[in-house]
Structure formats: C-alpha cells, structure tokens
Symmetry: D2
Subunit: 348 residues, 4 copies
C-alpha cells in the first residue's frame, strides 16, 4: 500500500549537502545536495517544493548508480515519480542530486524535500568511508557541463551536480561529498573585482551567500556546525575568477592581497577541519595563478608548520573538451577527476 513518509519519519535516509537540522522540509542549498535511500518496493515518489524568480532549480536522479532522470523543479509543491512498476522484492538504490548551484542573485530560488511516498520499505544504507568537501567557483558548480558549446546564456539548465570533477572524484571513492561553490566568485574577489563576492567570507555559514528573508528563515545565514560532518579531504579550486579581476584596470588590490586571502582562508578551513588534508587544486581554466597560489600555500605551511596542505595543478581544458559557455565540458571534468582522485589515492 502506498504511504507518504515525512523526511523526519524515515530512519534509513542519507541527507547530503551542507544544510540545517530542519527536516520539515529538508532544504537543498548547494550543488550536489540531495538524499539517498534504498527502497524495497514497487514505486517511489518524492514531494518537492520549489520556487524561483530567474533561475529554476534542476535535479538528477540516479537509480542503482545510473542517471535516469534530469529535470527542472516546477514552482510550488509537486510529487515527482522516481520509479514505478519495479520488482517489489528488489532493493533499489536511489540518489536525488541537486544539479543547480545556490543562487546568490535569485533570492526566490529554493528547493526542498518534504516527503517520500512508496509502497515499500526503506532499507539500511552502507556508510561511506571517505568524506570530501569541495570549495570552488563555476567549475566546481559544474557550469557548462550541459548545453551546446555555442551557448552563452547564464542559466541553471547548464549546471551539473553529477558530472562535475567534484562528483566524479567522489564517485571514484564512493565518498560522501559536499560542495560549497558559486559561479564567478573567488578568494579575494569575484571575476569582476567585487570583494564582497568572495567564498571565504561565507564559509562559516550554512549557505551565507544566499539573500532574502526566506533564505534567512530557512537558516542559510546561520552558523554552520562543522562538527556534524568532518571531511577527510577538503579540495579548494579557487583563483580562476581572481585571475580575471587582476586583468581589470580599475581593480586596485595587489597579488599580495590575494595571497594573504589564500593564507587566511587556509587558516579558516584548518580551524574548522582540524584533521583534513587540504588540497588546493587549480588549473582547469588556465594556470596563471599557479605561482601566486603556490607562494601562498608555501607561506602558510612555513608559518603554521601544517604539512597537510597540498597544491596540485588540475589539467587545463583543451580544445575539444569545452562544454557550454566556454566552461569545462565532461571530458575536462573527467580528466581533472582522474588526476585529483589519483592524488587523493596517493595521499590517504
């Protein structure tokens, strides 16, 4: 018999992505957020609630590890079928993953999970052995993975939380992962030189870069409780937008300012993730900040004695590897995931 379960009623559910403790509903703030269940039953539906002004949320569903469904979240509350007519005796692993990023510029943009509906039962889920946090910009948000190479419009349709180097790297380790990322932002400033749009400023909040009253009520601007989920590895992929800012004549900050921000951000990450290996992985859209980032990483290590901070170049996106909006396409993300996961493998 089909029955509806609030998220808070389901014991065997894994909730992914940085969020609050609220389960009624459970809000998906960041790219790659979602839930995972193992359902022994004939069918499964999810009730989601969505809103937006400009940028509608997108999500992908994987059944037994294979992506089968990718769609826009319609406005309002909707029941979406995730599978039907299946053998009720078999357990289906289902992962619901938010494809679009937290939207700084659209305070109405919202996606939350209210309930699951099934004729079956929720079975236990194996603990994953590794936890990875990714911090980045549009590259880490998977911008440009979908869409034709000629596309220029900045729309949520072209983002992916499933095929990015971050998701692919996590997949190689069957790791839990969380993504903190914003298109156009950097360490010191955004691509257009706005120092308010810097990831480090919001790192300690649940999803502090969101705006508007509703996001505030949902807890986006609350302090994030790092103790609940301590990553084994933190990957930072930032610097690409800062590089652009330095090419703007009116930008008055210096490369030393950037390096100081890198150092301070490393200290902040270390503060909240005392045991993690921290990898600064950089290069997927050009290598120009390599010298500066390595100077900062080396200076941080010299100052703190912290040996668990690493730098590695991720390979640049080459001709034939681009997706839409001059961003890395799937081939580039796969290449970066191979280099990065090999690095992590050699480290852990």
């Amino acid at each position: 018999m089909i029955k509806e379960y609030k998220i808070s009623e389901i014991k065997n559910i894994k909730l992914n992505g940085r969020s609050t403790d609220c389960l009624e509903p459970y809000t998906l703030f960041w790219t790659g957020s979602g839930f995972e269940v193992n359902v022994k039953g004939r069918e499964l539906w999810v009730e989601i609630e969505a809103d937006y002004e400009e940028q509608e949320p997108w999500f992908t569903v994987l059944i037994n590890g294979a992506p089968v469904l990718r769609q826009m979240a319609p406005k309002g509350s909707n029941k979406i079928c995730l599978f039907r007519s299946r053998n009720p005796e078999e357990i289906k692993n289902v992962r619901f993953i938010k494809d679009s990023q937290a939207m700084h510029d659209d305070e109405k943009c919202m996606l939350s999970i209210h309930s699951l509906i099934t004729d079956g039962v929720f079975c236990s889920i194996d603990e994953r052995k590794l936890k990875i946090e990714f911090i980045g910009d549009s590259i880490t948000s998977g911008e440009g993975i979908f869409g034709d190479t000629k596309e220029e419009d900045w729309v949520s349709m072209f983002f992916s939380g499933v095929y990015s180097y971050a998701a692919l790297t996590a997949e190689k380790f069957k790791a839990d992962y969380r993504i903190i990322s914003q298109s156009g932002w950097g360490v010191l400033s955004s691509w257009d030189g706005n120092t308010a749009n810097a990831i480090p400023k919001y790192y300690e909040k649940v999803c502090g870069l969101l705006t508007g009253d509703r996001n505030k009520k949902l807890g986006a601007t609350d302090d994030y409780d790092f103790k609940k989920w301590q990553p084994d590895v933190v990957v930072v992929n930032l610097g690409t937008n800062d590089c652009n800012a330095f090419e703007m004549p009116e930008f008055t900050y210096t490369i030393e300012d950037f390096e100081n921000e890198v150092i301070m951000f490393l200290k902040k990450i270390r503060k909240y993730n005392p045991k993690a290996d921290i990898i600064w992985g950089y290069g997927m859209l050009g290598y120009k900040m390599t010298a500066s980032i390595t100077r900062a990483v080396n200076a941080y290590t010299l100052e703190t004695g912290d040996k668990k901070v690493h730098f590695i170049n991720l390979p640049n996106t080459r001709e034939g590897m681009f997706g839409s909006r001059q961003h890395p396409g799937l081939k580039s993300h796969k290449q970066a995931a191979e280099v990065l996961s090999d690095y992590i493998m050699g480290m852990i």
Copy 2:
C-alpha cells in the same frame, strides 16, 4: 507576452514520427516521435497529456542539439517548461523526443502534445535532406541504454529514443527519421514464439500494434498513408527475437517459414516505399540468423530483380558494451551507428 499556441496554429513546427493527421492533440505513438521548433524568445513551455497503467511515457528534450532534460510524463495534462530566462533575441532549436516505445501491453499508455507556450515567435526550420525509417525490436527501441547493467525489470525508464543506433545514425546525416519497433517482436514471431507479435503484420497501420479503444479512436489502427513521408532509406533490424523462438522446443515453425516472412516483408516494404534503399542490418545481439536472413534477401533479389535491397552485419555487443537488461548499451549503439552510417554514406 506569454501566449499559448495550439499545434495546429503553429506554422513553423516539424512533427516527427509516424502519426495521424490529427493535430489537436498530436499523438506521439512511436519511439523517436516528437516535434522540433526554432523559438526566438525568452521561454518555452509545452502542454502534454499522458496516461498509463503500467508503463509511463518518457521523453528527452534537446536544446540546440544538446540533451538537457529527460523525464517521465506525468499522468494527465501538464505544462512542462523547456527553457526559461534565455536571451530573447537568440533562436533556440528545440527538439522534443519520445524515449519510450509504443506499448503493446499497456493500452492506457499515451502521450500527446496539445500546445506550445512562449513569449517569442516560431522561426522557420531547415528542411532535412535525408529521410530514414527504422524497423526493429527492443534494440531499435533503445531498450537498455539507460539503467545500471544489473537491472532486470522491464520498465519504460530504460528505453531511449535519442541514443539508439537509429537516432545516432540519423544524427550523423542530420536526417529525419521514424522508428517502427517493438521489444520482443520479430518477423515471424516474438521471442517466445507468438506469431501474432510480428512487426510485418502491423506495418501498414499507423501504430497497429497498440490495443484498446482509446488507441483506436486516436487512429493507431488506421491505415498509414505512406505517401506523406517517403524515406530514402529503410533499415530493418529484425531476426534477433525470431532466433530465440527457434530455440523453444514447442515452436513448430521452420527456418523456411521465417525466410518466407522475410521475403514477404521485403515485398511489403518495397510496395510502400518504391524508391527507398532497404538495408537489413543485423547482428547487435548475435549473428545466428545471418545465413537465414541472407538466404531470404538473396532469394528476394533473385525473384524480384530488386537491386536496392542490402544486407549488412552490425557488430555484436561485446563485453563492456552492455547496458541494462543484457541489451546493447551506448557504446554498442555508437559502434552500430558508425558501421551503418558508413554503409549508407557509401550507398547514397
């Protein structure tokens, strides 16, 4: 200003797939059916109507050639957004493609298009220079392209009208294509020896293998008017299920019966497609019927003098190329599309 247009009101729309003349609504019977528009506007929605008992319809949407959305059609009438927030001055090419096949066993299964809703205008669409008709079984229905390799349930979720060798071959030529296919069926009989479930019996109808009153009213069992769309090439990929029938001890037909059906089917195809090259492409799930099919094709040519009938082996699906349900996966479909399109290229 957003406005709703009935399909019959839209001049610049291309309707794909074998169907009736009815446009209010336009029914998508077969895999690969759908519509194509070029929209200069900010957003586009489609109103679809769907129904099902067991097997819900699935569809994929391609924007400027790139697949961005793949979802289940929910029961009833629904407005689905295909794009939003786009540059209103640019033309977006949009293709809506049915992923799931005509469902012989689910008389309620239905998908139709009522209207398009946009703030923009519908621009002209370039005529495609080649027309290809594909006739086949589950392979041509793209069964197994989606889903994990371990999946065993027969559900519409695992079918694709976008990544099958048929769709990929058409794509190489930027050709119009229509697909007549049914999972489990063959030339003489279905995989389990039921001679009622044979594609040639229904070739002359719009979608004659559908059942139930509603499908009848929709025109599925009407005679199909071949004159409206004359393919340049007809590809037949049948024989795989017949092969299985011959392995059943209770199956009393002979291999000569099969060959006679092949000959009669070729005559029927030729009758309705007088100018087309006809290619029997076979082998993606084993080569056992090669001798029998070539005997029949050669006998047909000898009897009729028809030189425009061809046989070619499509490469078998090898280890590592399988999708779900022991069916060809994407790698196998790509391989077959390369061989088949090379063949067509050398022929036309």
Copy 3:
C-alpha cells in the same frame, strides 16, 4: 659461454607458419611466419639469411610479448642480436615474426633462419590451445599498417605480420596462427582480372605462388602436408580484389563464376581441414560482394550440409582509420579483430 645452435639442434623451439620440414635452414615463406623460444640467458642472437631483388624482407621481434625491434633483413647471412645484457636467471619469451608477405613478383625474395646463438638455455614453451589459419589478400598481409597515409609506393616496408587483424585476433586467443595471403589476389582473379592470380589455385602447396628455381628448391611448390597442423578455425578474407576485377570492362567472367569459385574453394578448404570451423569474413574495404559471397556460402551449405561454414561482415575502414596506400590502418585492424574474435569466441 656463448654457443651457436642450428635450428635442428634446438628441441624447445616453436616454428610458426606454413613451411617445409627442412630446418637447415628454416625458411619463412608467409607473413606471420617465424619462431618462438623461451631463453634463460643473458643474450640471444639469430643468424638469418636473406635475399631480394625488389622487395626486401622485414621482421619484428617481440620480447615477452612486447614489440621492440622492427627492421629490414639485409642481404646475405647476418647475425642479428635480439637481446643483450639481460638478467641471466630470468626466462625471456622471444618471438621472431616475418612482417612482409610471400613475394610472388620477386623470385629472389627470401628469408631463412640458420641458427640461434646464446649463453643461455632454451626452456619449454607452453602449447597454445587454438590454431587459426587466415587466408586473404593485402588486408590479411597487413599492407598499409606502416607508413604515412599519403604513401603510394608498393614496398614491403609498409606490411605488418604483427598488427594485422589476423595477428591481433590470434593474440586475443593466444592462438597459433598461419597466414596464406597475397596482395592484389582474389578467389577468381586478381584486382586487375588475372585469373592466374587466385589464391585457391595455390592453396594445396607450401607456398606455390612463389616463382623461380630457388623457391622451387626450397620446397615452396611442393604439396603441403595439411595433417601436420590442423587448424580449429579457418578465416577467409577474400573478395575485395575480385570486386575490383568486375569493374574492369574487359573482364569477361560473371558473378556466377566468382560464386562457383567460392564454393569450390570452400570444398577444397573443407577437404584439407575436416574439423575446422570456416569463417568467411568480409568487408574491411567495402561490402559490395556481400550478396554474392553469402549466396555462395549458403549454396555450399545447402549442397554439402556442412554447418560449420560461416559468413560475417568485418567492419569497413572508415575515415581516420586508414593506413598507407588507402589500406586499413591499425585502428581498422583492431576493430576487425574485435568483431572477429568475438565471433570466434561465440562459436568455439
């Protein structure tokens, strides 16, 4: 201590390729001929004897399965080092393989093995479990695998006995293989319509298509003793040159003549290889003879009741897959080897 061993003195040597019983020296007539030894020692040399007028012989050496050396055989007797300075305690598997084909047009062309020279010992060689004979034309001779795509000269340098679909198929099964092939030749006639240059005419001889007194003395024109090496599988890849002959206006034979020759050749192959599966694999340079070959194969089976004769299309060479002289390159040979070995795997 370095010592020279005549071939007849070495117990643990495997001699490959169709040849005579003569071991002093052992003559390599066909593509893919050669020897295999397992040497526990520091170094190994071979004494070869070669001659030629126009087309010098080429050979490749594989050490532990990896090709390391490929060179022209210089005129006269020469000692060639195959490895040096190796760990004397380890066994090295060494295979010497003739890359260039038997040369019908150069009666001086000759390559033979006189002796091996080593400080080590010859260890036992594992028996290979499958034997495959390949019969073909330039494709089976590996013509065009070496050399730039723009090369037009017909020279032995561009042939390979190591990277052809035949060698690659054998490698997949770790099978023994023998190759009977001649560039330009066919079943009924050569590419230019000369019915004297037809492989079936010489199938019963050791290497009957060679000319001149020396080849006669070497035993090339002797009857071949098929009993000594009975293949499990015979692959025939012929028809491509016959196809060309039919396009010459002065060629007076009919397609029925060709089909009769195919039938007679199948009977001849069956006579000498009573237990083998015979596969006619065709298509690597065009599919035009498919109908004709399948008619002949089917007629042969009908007449003889022989069920162990098969037809399969090998995929055509597509753009980007060509080697030199408009012949299949390595990618095409790999593709054909995958399809063919998959076929054999399903059959044995």
Copy 4:
C-alpha cells in the same frame, strides 16, 4: 647511380641534438639526436658506426613522419638501408633518431653517422619555427616506453627518443628539440644520493656526463656553444630522483640544499638561454617535490625578477599507463605531452 656522401658534403641536412662541430663523423650523444633529410631518389642508406660494452645504441627511422624501423646499432661500421624501391620522383622525408640515452656508465657506448648513400638528391628542408630543449631524467629519456610492463632489467632496448613526452610535445609544434637527460639523475643528486650525478653539473658541456678517453676525444666534455642553437622554450623535468634520495636515511642533505640547487640551476639555464621561457614540469612519477620546487621557482623569480620561469604539474602516471620498469608508458607520455604542449601554446 648510387653514390656515397660524407655528412660534411651534404648541404641539405639537418643535424639534431647537442653535439660538436665535427661532421666526420657526426656523433649522436643524447636521446633524440639524429638527422633529417629530404631525399628525391629510389633508395637511401646510412653508414653508422657504433660501439658498446654493456648498452648498445638503438635508433628509430621515420619516413614521411611515420616510424617504420627500430633497431639496435650493431658494433662497428655498418651500412643500413633506410628505404628502397621507391618512386624516384617523389621526395621522402627521413628522420633518423637515437632512441637510447647518453650512457654515463658505459664509456664504450657510441653512435655516429659517417655518410649517406643514395641514387637521389638531397632537397631543401623547411626551417622549424620553434626550438625546445628538454632537461630531465629517465622520464625524459623515455625509459620504459618499450618493453612489457613486467620487465625489470635496465637495458637500452626499453628507451625511446620518439615516443617520450618530450618528442611528442615537439611533434605537436613541429619543433626542433634537444634532450639533455640521464636516467637516475637529479638536480642535487641521483636517486641513490650521489651528488656527483646531478644534471646541472654537466649542463655547460657538450655531453659532459660521458666518461672515458674516446668520449673526451669526441668532444663530449668540451664546453658547449649555446649560441649556435637558442631554444625558445626550456623544459626541466627533474626532482623525481632527488625525492628518492631524501628517503634514504644516510642522505645528509636538506630540502633547502635541493631548493638552492634548483635556484642555481635556473640561473645557469637563464645565463645560457637569455630569451627562453623556462618551464619546470614535474609530476609524472609522483608529486612529492611540488612544494619544494615551487618554493625554489618562486624564490628565484623574487630574487631575479625573471618572469619567464614557470612551474606546472605534469599528470602522474596512473594504473594502466605504465610501461616497463615501473616507468611511464606511452599513454602517460601522451597525457603529459598534451598538458605540456597546451601550456606552451598558451605561453608563446
């Protein structure tokens, strides 16, 4: 008519690799050394002279860009045929490339070119627009590109001057290239901690790491005249062996010593190559020295103000990419060449 030409008599010849001015004979010291000619003629031979105690020289010949021949250089003077029986009216581009490295440990090892023999004429050779110098260890020497993955013996057979990342990178730019490399050596010391075996110590000599009287007479230990060939780019791929030295308990040097050597080596390279971009490319066999190398590169830049010195990680060799002797195989070298040539492309 066949005629022999001393190297000094041939105007249209390009001599590659760091060497002396002596042309009678022309000695090939380093990996990748050799010559290039464009011959309009029927055949071409080369007279080489070789010697060795333990490690024989190997070479590869490319005709019109395609490798066709790879063999050991036999002891003494030998005439080797490079092509025969060709269309005498066509120009053949021929490149002779030394595959094995300069052999520090075998003072007898030697390969030189005495003359070319042809019936044709030597035509002009296009100037290449870019010059690249590569400085490295076994990776740059192409060690392990040939041979089975299980091979452990250190022998010259397994080296390649044609398929290394250095050669492949040069090929992408159709660039002239020179390679200065020695297996096992580093910046401060060799893999086993011997500071005599450091590349910078010998950088100013023609091939100063060679030993013995003959090499001295040949000019290996002479000062090298950098003015004759000024590279546009210098790539340094060193640090892998230094990393190993630091893991040896008896090694008393510090990481600061290593970094000082890097800085001093950069100064030395800059002194002799005033206009070149210098790229330190590192990581193909592990990333452990990244922090140390970037510290040194950054310190060098800070001290000198030299902005044309770059650091980039080349991707590590991953499972399935290894060649023999646990060294990078062809896949790894291709991957590194893609990353490196993309870097150079973005820089020049």
